[in-house]
Amino acid sequence: MILCAAFLAGLAVLTIEIVGVHWMAPWFGASALIWSNQIGIILFAMAAGGWLGGRITRKKSSLMPYAAAFLLIAALYLKMGEWLLPSFASLFQPEGLLLEEAAALFFSGSLAASIFFFALPVLCASLVTPMLIHEHSTRIGNVGQAAGEVAAAGTLGSLVGVFGTTFFLLPFGVPSTLFAVTLALAFAALSLCRNRLVLALVGVLALTSLLVLLYPAPAFSDLPSQAKLLETRTSSYQTSRVIEQSDGTRWLQVNEGLDSFQSIWKPNSLFPGGYYDLFALAPVYANARNQESFQAWLLGAGTASAVGPLTFPLGDSCKWSVIGVELDPDVIELGQKWMPLPEPLAQNYTALPAMDARAALRVANPNSLDCVLLDAYANQFEIPVHLASVEFFSEVASRLRDGGVFAMNIGAAGRGAPFLQDALCGTLSQVFADLRVHRVPWSRNRVIFARKGLHLPPLAGLSALLPSGLPASLGASCLPGQVVDGAPKSYCLLLDAKNPLISLQWQAWWEALS
């Protein structure tokens, strides 16, 4: 029973650590900094719990009732947190908060939420370990063996917690995962002791669980004003939702919502607006308009918002195919359900679910693609570092035919933006023959185009290359004042082994706030 309790306590600690980030993600995201906050606080709580548990074993003779009570307090606190965390997190997300203002609040808010909602349960679950070792050693008569066995059981529990949470529990949602942790802690407590206090605490826990079940906390941050929620899903990766604005435009939002979206869909239009419309320049720059066939990959496809603009310039006789790589299968399903492509486009579009963009691209034949688009923002702030390095850009170039075009969206505001843009452009210039940055009208985004082996067509004659029917704003983004041609003179080179992109991006957002 002691080893069973150690196993369940270990399982609970790691599950709390992982589910905690997913639980906070709708408000604060799940970036590297948020994970660091959570891991740091959990480790601090474990250390404090170990120290405190050790001290308790010195003073108390009958330890198991205490251990059981602490485990139940952890479960109870976690259950109450299920109610309180949304209100607490909302304090850090005032109404109308814009993405570029949010970075500091996200960092601080996630740190505070980790401390308030996860530190105490982990502390309580950790402080039973020395008690279990003490009790076990009393029974078997060997401290070293007892410590080893309890530590092994706890670590095995943590192992099951890690894999079980990610692969099994989280797809059922955060509330189900929290319920499983609560259950594990309650079982651990009951396996140690069943006195009146423990049974009373179990009763309170059951009552609290029932109340939480009857009156569940909101699972996502507030909706933008005048928007309607169509569907929310939680996967192993993130929480996603589709919302509809008053004009019928639909947004796919992932984790924290704010004023931004991962994909956008407009009824009866191939052009969703914003930076997506600029992807229509990719086939033009690749000189693919009058080709018989056209192949493109979309990395970080979301619900395939870029497919309409990307294929619009192609001729009617062109046989095209676009492959979209998307990490989260739920996003693809939400897209097919709520943000469907028009039928002719849907026939030639293939979504590859559950694939990392870099790994997936290696499947493409060398020198075969006309365009590769990268739109893989993670956590609203971060371009994943493995998708922004000389090595990755070289892999992209190896898949493009000569004259093929790579395009990527970057979003940045404030004084840090030029550093981010320069780092990406400079790194791209190591691999591609020519590159150009277009500012997106009325937006904080820019789109970088880089061409393999050949120069991009000059801006001056661009109107002759474009088909009619593209939005006027796309024309505006092609004026000289909206465009930066070529590589910067000085920049920070991004490598797989040394990639300061995260700090560059956070610097950009942090400065925007200050």
Partner: protein, 156 residues
Amino acid sequence: MFSCLLLLTAFFQQPLDDAVSFLTWNDTHRQTESLSWQAFTLVSAGAEQEARSVIRQILVSSPDDPDALRYSIELDALYPKLHSEVLQRAFEWRSNFSAAQPAAVQASVSNMIQFLETETMRRDQLAAKRVLLWAAPLLGLSSLIGAVYFLSRRFA
């Protein structure tokens, strides 16, 4: 024949119809248009840098040009840091020029003022939240340390 047709089509197209019309207008017709029309078209399409350049030209020769001042307010409103100043300019614009403007323009400026007021208020509220940046984690950490201390005194 075909090129004549294209020319005719281009002639009847408005610059804001699509990207090609816009770029064609920019390449071939823009310089012959009035500065005011240029500013309107560039602002409407979102060509911020070019629009600013034209607006500057207008304001050099005519510092009180109501259209140029209005476009300048519209463009500056894109930058949250300028909101307070832009709001002030929008109020001044309304008191100086509004009466002589068409109803649609008056309504557009009123909407802009409403947007800027809401934004300024929202940013003030956000500034008030900044105390949370440091207070919340510090409070949490001291509570945690306090809880450990309490438990160590109570049970150990």
